[in-house]
């Protein structure tokens, strides 16, 4: 099967054609395009960012992210876990708010501070 992708490495945005069985990439202009094409059809990963309600603070929400990119198919499962959780101030940037989310080995960490009320 072939998959059509747009390369995201530079503004040129090459239209890639990736053969998912042989892992050959057509349409790329450089090595970055080839690497991107292969990783997108074999193990695509994404950073997920969202918010969590924060109690005991002037703020309503604290922003969060995955500590590193997670598998693309897990995006909505991770969001579901984040949406179940409420946290309490004080929160500092980098605090781990959920560890090992969806058994991925990846944590959900705070990306903003929330001081106590």
């Amino acid at each position: 099967m072939t998959k059509n992708l747009i390369c995201i490495n530079c503004p040129r945005g090459c239209n890639l054609e990736v053969d998912t069985e042989t892992l050959t990439v057509k349409g790329n202009s450089c090595i970055k395009g080839k690497d991107y094409g292969i990783s997108e059809v074999t193990h695509p990963k994404r950073m997920v960012t969202s918010t969590m309600p924060v109690l005991n603070s002037k703020k309503i929400l604290v922003s969060v992210k995955t500590s590193s990119p997670i598998n693309k198919e897990d995006i909505f499962n991770v969001i579901k876990e984040i949406n179940k959780k409420k946290v309490s101030a004080p929160i500092k940037i980098g605090d781990i708010l959920i560890s090992n989310v969806c058994n991925s080995g990846i944590n959900i960490v705070a990306t903003s501070n929330a001081e106590e009320k």
Binding site: L5, I6, T49, I75, I93, T111
Partner: protein
């Protein structure tokens, strides 16, 4: 009238204003005040919770609040004062400021002023969309703020007009929070967002992008309380609507991501000359406006794509303001830059050769996507530098450096982009 006096007053505590304060402080200015209308510093970064910030500045990908946080920490190491929850309502050419907060009206006076007020979104009125005028039509950035700061989802079935990065990022964010984004509609035949955002915000979630389309009608529900239907139509090469090409979307919300305008009401009050192309102040290479001692940086000067560039511009403004405070105004002759073929604008608009140390950056955008082209710097009608480019697009700001040695005997300077 009693006026609170400071060496440097910076209007706006977003990325441009904070960077300006830190660099002016480093350059030896001790008495600096930042005036910020929100209750925290960081400006628009606080609602930009997605990642991708700081790749140039910090060599890692941060979210907006993290990027702001880094700068706030650096600011804490200085003695820069911050007046938050305070709105500047007027500024004049004598560098007098009126600002309002819960304590009342404050009168301030700066030896130098830096404008760092950022920009605002173009709204429905700016692009004259026909149809019913009801609730449910708001800008993408406002929807982002409601979602990420205040905790409200603005709609359940959403159409987005404009494929700039704010629109794309909001499309993904609302999708993750449970809304259904039915379409992103773009009047140009090409997207105005980064490829990365097209892929990771639209394609990842199967959100269709309609190029060469625009909204041709907005219909209200029966009680005339809320949007019920948005109709889009195809446009021709002149962006005129082609009849009988309508596509209808049943939805409750239309988000607008149709461009940003520098927020220059204060600059106009101070008599600062604006450039009709950038809609920001006309500045020389040290970022000084047409009013002596008032400098501008960040999105109030020109709308940027990358916060890293905003910070760099803020730093440059901070250094220039520090030099002005220490040494006073050095009157020197400036050369007005000529905006050449295929360019939307140039910023700065004026170069003062005597103030260039090694080189000075000139920023610009192209009018339309161009393949295989070159950027020419033309001084006294001679090409002094030519840079080849495989592709230039309007949504990516470009820059060239003009070196001091190029400026020897310069009478006119032009920058252009031409096809090879």
């Amino acid at each position: 009238m009693n006026k609170e006096k400071h060496d440097l007053i910076i209007i706006g505590g977003g990325p441009a204003g904070i960077a300006a304060a830190i660099s002016a402080n480093k350059a030896g200015i001790k008495d600096i005040l930042i005036i910020e209308r929100d209750n925290i510093l960081g400006g628009i970064l606080n609602q930009c919770i997605h990642n991708g910030f700081g790749l140039h500045r910090f060599k890692e990908e941060l979210t907006g609040p993290e990027y702001a946080g880094r700068y706030v920490e650096l600011l804490k190491e200085t003695k820069v004062k911050v007046l938050s929850n305070t709105m500047v309502t007027s500024l004049n050419a004598k560098k007098e400021i009126t600002a309002i907060n819960s304590k009342g009206v404050n009168h301030l006076l700066g030896k130098a002023i830096i404008l760092a007020m950022g920009c605002r979104e173009r709204s429905r009125g700016a692009i004259s969309i026909p149809g019913d005028r009801v609730a449910g039509v708001i800008t993408a950035g406002a929807a982002q703020r409601y979602c990420n700061i205040d905790g409200y989802l603005v709609g359940k079935k959403v159409v987005i007009l404009g494929s700039g990065d704010i629109g794309l990022i909001t499309a993904r964010r609302l999708t993750l929070e449970g809304a259904k984004v039915l379409a992103v509609v773009e009047i140009c035949p090409y997207s105005n967002g980064l490829n990365r955002n097209i892929v990771q915000c639209l394609n990842d979630f199967d959100i269709p992008l309609y190029l060469s389309h625009t909204v041709s009608n907005i219909k209200a529900n029966k009680n005339h309380t809320r949007v019920e239907e948005v109709i889009i139509s195809k446009v021709d090469e002149n962006k005129n609507i082609i009849p009988n090409t309508e596509i209808s979307f049943k939805c409750d919300t239309l988000l607008l991501s149709v461009g940003l305008i520098p927020e220059n009401e204060l600059s106009i009050k101070a008599g600062i000359i604006l450039d009709p192309r950038t809609k920001g102040a006309l500045v020389s290479n040290n970022l000084e406006t047409s009013v002596e001692g008032i400098f501008a940086c960040g999105n109030v000067l020109q709308v940027h794509d990358l916060v890293d560039n905003v910070s760099l511009e803020g730093e440059r403004a901070g250094i220039s303001a520090a030099n002005y405070i220490k040494e006073g105004n050095k009157k020197s002759k400036g050369i007005k830059l000529e905006v050449g073929e295929n360019l939307l604008y140039l910023c700065p608009q004026i170069i003062k050769p005597s103030s260039v140390v090694d080189s000075t950056p000139i920023f610009f955008r192209v009018k339309k996507p161009l393949d295989n082209c070159k950027i020419n710097i033309i001084i006294n009608n001679e090409i002094v530098s030519s840079i080849n480019k495989i592709k230039l697009i309007p949504s990516e700001m470009q820059s060239v450096n003009i070196r001091k040695d190029m400026l020897k005997g310069a009478k006119n300077i032009k920058i252009e982009v031409i096809k090879k």
